[in-house]
Symmetry: C2
Subunit: 199 residues, 2 copies
Protein backbone atom coordinates (compact mmCIF):
# COMPACT_ATOMS: atom_id res chain seq x y z
CA UNK A 1 0.00 0.00 0.00
CA UNK A 2 3.04 2.28 0.22
CA UNK A 3 3.39 4.73 -2.59
CA UNK A 4 6.64 5.95 -4.01
CA UNK A 5 7.70 9.20 -2.38
CA UNK A 6 9.88 11.84 -3.85
CA UNK A 7 12.39 13.74 -1.73
CA UNK A 8 10.05 16.72 -1.88
CA UNK A 9 7.26 14.58 -0.47
CA UNK A 10 9.36 13.47 2.49
CA UNK A 11 10.20 17.08 3.20
CA UNK A 12 6.52 18.01 2.99
CA UNK A 13 5.61 15.31 5.45
CA UNK A 14 8.14 16.61 7.94
CA UNK A 15 6.83 20.14 7.46
CA UNK A 16 3.30 18.94 8.06
CA UNK A 17 4.36 17.25 11.29
CA UNK A 18 6.14 20.43 12.38
CA UNK A 19 3.00 22.43 11.68
CA UNK A 20 0.85 19.86 13.48
CA UNK A 21 3.10 19.95 16.55
CA UNK A 22 2.80 23.74 16.55
CA UNK A 23 -0.96 23.67 16.17
CA UNK A 24 -1.50 20.94 18.77
CA UNK A 25 0.67 22.84 21.24
CA UNK A 26 -1.14 26.10 20.70
CA UNK A 27 -4.72 24.97 20.20
CA UNK A 28 -4.94 21.43 21.54
CA UNK A 29 -5.71 18.35 19.47
CA UNK A 30 -9.43 18.96 18.93
CA UNK A 31 -9.28 22.64 18.02
CA UNK A 32 -6.26 22.23 15.75
CA UNK A 33 -8.15 21.81 12.47
CA UNK A 34 -6.58 20.02 9.55
CA UNK A 35 -7.07 23.15 7.47
CA UNK A 36 -5.20 25.16 10.09
CA UNK A 37 -2.38 22.61 10.13
CA UNK A 38 -2.17 22.75 6.34
CA UNK A 39 -2.15 26.56 6.42
CA UNK A 40 0.69 26.57 8.96
CA UNK A 41 2.61 24.20 6.74
CA UNK A 42 2.02 26.59 3.81
CA UNK A 43 0.05 24.08 1.75
CA UNK A 44 -3.57 23.45 0.82
CA UNK A 45 -5.91 21.10 2.70
CA UNK A 46 -5.88 18.73 -0.24
CA UNK A 47 -2.10 18.49 -0.18
CA UNK A 48 -2.12 17.43 3.46
CA UNK A 49 -4.31 14.51 2.50
CA UNK A 50 -1.85 13.48 -0.20
CA UNK A 51 0.42 12.35 2.62
CA UNK A 52 -1.83 11.47 5.53
CA UNK A 53 -5.17 9.70 5.18
CA UNK A 54 -6.68 11.37 8.24
CA UNK A 55 -6.07 13.78 11.08
CA UNK A 56 -5.51 10.82 13.36
CA UNK A 57 -2.80 9.56 11.05
CA UNK A 58 -1.04 12.91 11.34
CA UNK A 59 -1.18 12.71 15.11
CA UNK A 60 -0.02 9.13 15.05
CA UNK A 61 2.95 9.93 12.85
CA UNK A 62 3.80 12.88 15.05
CA UNK A 63 3.64 10.65 18.09
CA UNK A 64 5.98 8.23 16.41
CA UNK A 65 8.43 11.01 15.68
CA UNK A 66 8.28 12.17 19.29
CA UNK A 67 9.06 8.68 20.48
CA UNK A 68 12.02 8.39 18.16
CA UNK A 69 13.33 11.84 19.08
CA UNK A 70 13.06 11.13 22.78
CA UNK A 71 14.79 7.79 22.47
CA UNK A 72 17.56 9.37 20.45
CA UNK A 73 18.06 12.31 22.77
CA UNK A 74 17.64 10.85 26.24
CA UNK A 75 17.04 7.15 25.99
CA UNK A 76 20.52 6.33 27.15
CA UNK A 77 20.29 8.50 30.24
CA UNK A 78 17.44 6.45 31.50
CA UNK A 79 18.77 3.08 32.45
CA UNK A 80 22.50 2.81 31.94
CA UNK A 81 24.45 3.80 35.06
CA UNK A 82 24.37 1.95 38.37
CA UNK A 83 20.92 3.02 39.42
CA UNK A 84 20.99 1.06 42.63
CA UNK A 85 24.00 2.71 44.20
CA UNK A 86 23.45 6.24 42.97
CA UNK A 87 22.47 9.05 45.27
CA UNK A 88 18.71 9.55 45.06
CA UNK A 89 19.05 13.23 44.23
CA UNK A 90 21.45 12.48 41.45
CA UNK A 91 19.20 9.76 40.08
CA UNK A 92 16.29 12.18 40.00
CA UNK A 93 18.41 14.79 38.24
CA UNK A 94 19.48 12.27 35.64
CA UNK A 95 15.95 11.10 34.94
CA UNK A 96 13.86 14.22 35.42
CA UNK A 97 15.99 16.93 33.85
CA UNK A 98 16.22 15.44 30.35
CA UNK A 99 12.52 14.62 30.36
CA UNK A 100 11.59 18.13 31.43
CA UNK A 101 13.92 19.55 28.82
CA UNK A 102 12.28 17.42 26.14
CA UNK A 103 8.84 18.57 27.20
CA UNK A 104 9.88 22.20 27.09
CA UNK A 105 11.60 21.81 23.74
CA UNK A 106 8.56 20.03 22.25
CA UNK A 107 5.44 21.89 23.38
CA UNK A 108 3.20 19.75 21.21
CA UNK A 109 4.28 16.64 23.05
CA UNK A 110 2.01 16.98 26.04
CA UNK A 111 -1.05 17.61 23.89
CA UNK A 112 -0.68 14.11 22.50
CA UNK A 113 0.58 12.18 25.51
CA UNK A 114 -0.79 13.82 28.64
CA UNK A 115 -4.45 13.51 27.70
CA UNK A 116 -7.05 11.39 29.46
CA UNK A 117 -9.52 11.43 26.55
CA UNK A 118 -7.50 10.46 23.51
CA UNK A 119 -8.81 9.13 20.22
CA UNK A 120 -8.25 5.41 20.11
CA UNK A 121 -5.64 5.38 17.37
CA UNK A 122 -3.76 8.07 19.23
CA UNK A 123 -3.80 6.07 22.42
CA UNK A 124 -2.50 3.18 20.35
CA UNK A 125 0.42 5.28 19.17
CA UNK A 126 1.28 6.51 22.62
CA UNK A 127 1.15 3.04 24.15
CA UNK A 128 4.75 2.11 23.24
CA UNK A 129 6.23 5.15 24.92
CA UNK A 130 3.95 4.82 27.93
CA UNK A 131 4.94 1.20 28.26
CA UNK A 132 8.60 2.04 27.81
CA UNK A 133 8.49 4.73 30.46
CA UNK A 134 6.62 2.47 32.84
CA UNK A 135 9.13 -0.28 32.18
CA UNK A 136 12.10 2.00 32.81
CA UNK A 137 10.55 3.30 35.99
CA UNK A 138 9.77 -0.23 37.10
CA UNK A 139 13.34 -1.32 36.54
CA UNK A 140 14.56 1.64 38.57
CA UNK A 141 12.11 0.73 41.29
CA UNK A 142 13.36 -2.84 41.15
CA UNK A 143 16.88 -1.63 41.81
CA UNK A 144 16.03 0.96 44.43
CA UNK A 145 13.24 -0.83 46.31
CA UNK A 146 13.98 -4.55 45.92
CA UNK A 147 11.38 -5.73 48.41
CA UNK A 148 8.41 -4.55 46.35
CA UNK A 149 5.80 -7.05 45.14
CA UNK A 150 5.25 -6.95 41.36
CA UNK A 151 1.73 -5.57 41.62
CA UNK A 152 2.86 -2.84 43.99
CA UNK A 153 5.83 -2.06 41.79
CA UNK A 154 3.60 -1.65 38.77
CA UNK A 155 1.24 0.56 40.72
CA UNK A 156 4.08 2.71 42.02
CA UNK A 157 5.46 3.11 38.52
CA UNK A 158 2.05 4.30 37.34
CA UNK A 159 1.96 6.77 40.23
CA UNK A 160 5.39 8.16 39.42
CA UNK A 161 4.67 8.57 35.71
CA UNK A 162 1.32 10.15 36.46
CA UNK A 163 2.83 12.64 38.88
CA UNK A 164 5.44 13.57 36.32
CA UNK A 165 2.82 14.08 33.63
CA UNK A 166 0.72 16.20 35.96
CA UNK A 167 3.59 18.43 37.07
CA UNK A 168 5.16 19.03 33.68
CA UNK A 169 2.48 21.49 32.49
CA UNK A 170 3.01 23.40 35.74
CA UNK A 171 6.68 23.72 34.87
CA UNK A 172 5.98 24.69 31.28
CA UNK A 173 3.38 27.31 32.28
CA UNK A 174 5.64 28.99 34.82
CA UNK A 175 7.63 32.07 33.81
CA UNK A 176 11.16 31.12 32.96
CA UNK A 177 12.72 32.39 36.17
CA UNK A 178 10.28 30.27 38.20
CA UNK A 179 11.01 27.05 36.38
CA UNK A 180 13.91 25.83 38.48
CA UNK A 181 11.73 26.18 41.56
CA UNK A 182 8.92 24.26 39.89
CA UNK A 183 11.26 21.50 38.78
CA UNK A 184 12.61 21.35 42.32
CA UNK A 185 9.07 20.81 43.59
CA UNK A 186 8.52 18.06 41.04
CA UNK A 187 11.66 16.32 42.24
CA UNK A 188 10.62 16.85 45.82
CA UNK A 189 7.32 15.09 45.20
CA UNK A 190 9.02 12.17 43.49
CA UNK A 191 11.72 11.95 46.15
CA UNK A 192 9.22 12.03 48.98
CA UNK A 193 7.25 9.20 47.40
CA UNK A 194 10.33 7.10 46.64
CA UNK A 195 11.70 7.63 50.15
CA UNK A 196 8.37 6.59 51.57
CA UNK A 197 8.44 3.41 49.47
CA UNK A 198 11.86 2.44 50.79
CA UNK A 199 10.88 2.84 54.43
Amino acid sequence: MERRRQARGERRMAEILDAAADAFAELGYEKASTNAIAARAGISPGSLYQFFPSKEAVASALAGRFVADMRAAHGSAFGEADVAGMDLDELLDRVVDPLVAFNLANPGFKALFARPDMPSALAESSRPIQAAMLGQVESILDARVPGLAPADRARSARVLVRVFQAMTPLVAAAPEEERPAEVAELKRVLKGYLTSLSA
Copy 2:
Protein backbone atom coordinates in the same frame (compact mmCIF):
# COMPACT_ATOMS: atom_id res chain seq x y z
CA MET B 1 -30.43 41.68 34.77
CA GLU B 2 -32.05 38.93 36.82
CA ARG B 3 -35.46 37.78 35.69
CA ARG B 4 -38.22 36.52 37.89
CA ARG B 5 -38.14 32.75 38.15
CA GLN B 6 -41.00 30.48 38.91
CA ALA B 7 -40.55 27.36 41.00
CA ARG B 8 -40.83 25.32 37.82
CA GLY B 9 -37.95 27.28 36.33
CA GLU B 10 -35.74 26.58 39.32
CA ARG B 11 -36.52 22.89 38.99
CA ARG B 12 -35.70 23.00 35.28
CA MET B 13 -32.38 24.62 35.95
CA ALA B 14 -31.49 21.89 38.43
CA GLU B 15 -32.53 19.25 35.89
CA ILE B 16 -30.38 20.88 33.24
CA LEU B 17 -27.39 20.85 35.57
CA ASP B 18 -28.04 17.19 36.37
CA ALA B 19 -28.15 16.40 32.66
CA ALA B 20 -25.00 18.44 32.04
CA ALA B 21 -23.13 16.61 34.80
CA ASP B 22 -24.19 13.31 33.22
CA ALA B 23 -23.16 14.37 29.74
CA PHE B 24 -19.84 15.85 30.85
CA ALA B 25 -19.02 12.69 32.75
CA GLU B 26 -19.88 10.41 29.86
CA LEU B 27 -18.70 12.43 26.87
CA GLY B 28 -16.32 15.05 28.23
CA TYR B 29 -16.93 18.78 28.07
CA GLU B 30 -16.23 19.30 24.36
CA LYS B 31 -18.28 16.42 22.97
CA ALA B 32 -21.21 17.01 25.27
CA SER B 33 -23.30 19.16 22.93
CA THR B 34 -25.88 21.56 24.26
CA ASN B 35 -28.54 19.74 22.24
CA ALA B 36 -27.48 16.47 23.89
CA ILE B 37 -27.67 18.06 27.33
CA ALA B 38 -31.12 19.42 26.55
CA ALA B 39 -32.25 16.02 25.28
CA ARG B 40 -31.00 14.33 28.47
CA ALA B 41 -32.92 16.89 30.50
CA GLY B 42 -36.02 16.09 28.44
CA ILE B 43 -36.36 19.58 27.03
CA SER B 44 -35.73 21.35 23.72
CA PRO B 45 -32.51 23.21 22.86
CA GLY B 46 -34.40 26.47 23.01
CA SER B 47 -35.61 25.82 26.54
CA LEU B 48 -32.07 25.29 27.75
CA TYR B 49 -31.23 28.78 26.53
CA GLN B 50 -34.16 30.21 28.46
CA PHE B 51 -32.12 29.54 31.58
CA PHE B 52 -28.48 29.68 30.55
CA PRO B 53 -27.07 32.14 28.02
CA SER B 54 -24.33 29.79 26.84
CA LYS B 55 -22.78 26.37 27.27
CA GLU B 56 -20.06 27.93 29.34
CA ALA B 57 -22.67 29.39 31.68
CA VAL B 58 -24.05 25.88 32.18
CA ALA B 59 -20.59 24.62 33.08
CA SER B 60 -20.01 27.59 35.35
CA ALA B 61 -23.30 27.06 37.18
CA LEU B 62 -22.53 23.36 37.51
CA ALA B 63 -19.14 24.21 38.94
CA GLY B 64 -20.80 26.52 41.41
CA ARG B 65 -23.18 23.79 42.47
CA PHE B 66 -20.29 21.36 42.89
CA VAL B 67 -18.52 23.82 45.16
CA ALA B 68 -21.66 24.33 47.22
CA ASP B 69 -22.32 20.60 47.44
CA MET B 70 -18.75 19.94 48.44
CA ARG B 71 -18.83 22.63 51.10
CA ALA B 72 -22.11 21.31 52.42
CA ALA B 73 -21.00 17.70 52.50
CA HIS B 74 -17.38 17.93 53.59
CA GLY B 75 -16.54 21.57 54.09
CA SER B 76 -16.52 21.19 57.83
CA ALA B 77 -13.95 18.42 57.67
CA PHE B 78 -11.61 20.74 55.80
CA GLY B 79 -10.72 23.54 58.13
CA GLU B 80 -12.41 23.22 61.47
CA ALA B 81 -10.49 20.95 63.82
CA ASP B 82 -7.04 21.71 65.12
CA VAL B 83 -5.22 21.11 61.87
CA ALA B 84 -1.90 22.08 63.35
CA GLY B 85 -1.78 19.50 66.11
CA MET B 86 -3.40 16.61 64.28
CA ASP B 87 -1.50 13.50 63.29
CA LEU B 88 -0.50 13.84 59.63
CA ASP B 89 -2.08 10.52 58.68
CA GLU B 90 -5.31 11.52 60.31
CA LEU B 91 -5.25 14.90 58.60
CA LEU B 92 -4.79 13.24 55.24
CA ASP B 93 -7.65 10.85 55.94
CA ARG B 94 -9.89 13.71 56.90
CA VAL B 95 -9.08 15.71 53.80
CA VAL B 96 -8.53 13.08 51.13
CA ASP B 97 -11.26 10.54 51.89
CA PRO B 98 -14.20 12.93 51.57
CA LEU B 99 -12.74 14.45 48.41
CA VAL B 100 -12.23 11.05 46.83
CA ALA B 101 -15.72 10.03 47.86
CA PHE B 102 -17.12 13.20 46.32
CA ASN B 103 -15.26 12.54 43.10
CA LEU B 104 -16.59 9.01 42.89
CA ALA B 105 -20.12 10.08 43.73
CA ASN B 106 -20.07 12.92 41.18
CA PRO B 107 -18.52 11.58 37.97
CA GLY B 108 -19.16 14.85 36.18
CA PHE B 109 -16.95 16.64 38.66
CA LYS B 110 -13.67 15.51 37.20
CA ALA B 111 -14.61 16.86 33.76
CA LEU B 112 -14.60 20.30 35.33
CA PHE B 113 -11.91 19.88 37.95
CA ALA B 114 -9.59 16.94 37.42
CA ARG B 115 -8.86 17.54 33.78
CA PRO B 116 -5.13 18.05 33.26
CA ASP B 117 -5.51 19.98 29.99
CA MET B 118 -8.22 22.54 30.53
CA PRO B 119 -9.58 24.49 27.55
CA SER B 120 -9.59 28.19 28.30
CA ALA B 121 -13.38 28.43 28.28
CA LEU B 122 -13.54 25.65 30.84
CA ALA B 123 -10.76 27.06 32.95
CA GLU B 124 -12.79 30.20 33.53
CA SER B 125 -15.85 28.22 34.55
CA SER B 126 -13.99 25.95 36.92
CA ARG B 127 -12.00 28.69 38.59
CA PRO B 128 -14.28 28.81 41.65
CA ILE B 129 -13.52 25.15 42.30
CA GLN B 130 -9.80 25.64 41.86
CA ALA B 131 -9.76 28.78 44.00
CA ALA B 132 -11.72 27.13 46.78
CA MET B 133 -9.40 24.16 46.80
CA LEU B 134 -6.21 26.20 46.72
CA GLY B 135 -7.42 28.43 49.52
CA GLN B 136 -8.21 25.50 51.78
CA VAL B 137 -4.90 23.83 51.08
CA GLU B 138 -3.01 27.05 51.69
CA SER B 139 -4.65 27.49 55.07
CA ILE B 140 -3.71 23.93 56.00
CA LEU B 141 -0.16 24.58 54.86
CA ASP B 142 -0.11 27.73 56.93
CA ALA B 143 -0.98 25.71 60.02
CA ARG B 144 1.28 22.75 59.35
CA VAL B 145 4.33 24.46 57.89
CA PRO B 146 4.36 27.91 59.46
CA GLY B 147 7.82 28.86 58.26
CA LEU B 148 6.82 28.89 54.59
CA ALA B 149 7.15 32.07 52.55
CA PRO B 150 3.88 33.13 50.87
CA ALA B 151 5.17 32.45 47.36
CA ASP B 152 6.42 29.01 48.37
CA ARG B 153 3.18 28.29 50.16
CA ALA B 154 1.17 29.17 47.08
CA ARG B 155 3.42 27.01 44.94
CA SER B 156 3.17 24.08 47.31
CA ALA B 157 -0.60 24.39 47.38
CA ARG B 158 -0.65 24.25 43.58
CA VAL B 159 1.54 21.18 43.67
CA LEU B 160 -0.68 19.39 46.18
CA VAL B 161 -3.88 20.19 44.30
CA ARG B 162 -2.29 19.16 41.04
CA VAL B 163 -1.14 15.85 42.42
CA PHE B 164 -4.59 15.19 43.79
CA GLN B 165 -6.14 16.04 40.42
CA ALA B 166 -3.77 13.73 38.62
CA MET B 167 -4.29 10.80 40.93
CA THR B 168 -8.06 10.96 41.21
CA PRO B 169 -8.75 9.57 37.73
CA LEU B 170 -6.40 6.72 38.57
CA VAL B 171 -8.53 5.95 41.61
CA ALA B 172 -11.77 6.29 39.69
CA ALA B 173 -10.55 4.09 36.83
CA ALA B 174 -9.36 1.31 39.10
CA PRO B 175 -11.61 -1.68 39.75
CA GLU B 176 -13.44 -1.25 43.02
CA GLU B 177 -11.32 -3.71 44.98
CA GLU B 178 -8.15 -1.85 43.95
CA ARG B 179 -9.36 1.54 45.06
CA PRO B 180 -8.20 1.45 48.67
CA ALA B 181 -4.68 0.66 47.45
CA GLU B 182 -4.80 3.53 44.95
CA VAL B 183 -6.07 5.93 47.59
CA ALA B 184 -3.29 4.77 49.89
CA GLU B 185 -0.75 5.64 47.18
CA LEU B 186 -2.32 9.04 46.72
CA LYS B 187 -1.99 9.69 50.44
CA ARG B 188 1.55 8.39 50.37
CA VAL B 189 2.52 10.89 47.68
CA LEU B 190 0.93 13.77 49.56
CA LYS B 191 2.43 12.67 52.86
CA GLY B 192 5.89 12.34 51.39
CA TYR B 193 5.69 15.81 49.94
CA LEU B 194 4.33 17.38 53.11
CA THR B 195 6.92 15.64 55.23
CA SER B 196 9.62 16.92 52.91
CA LEU B 197 8.27 20.46 53.26
CA SER B 198 8.40 20.34 57.04
CA ALA B 199 11.98 19.15 57.13
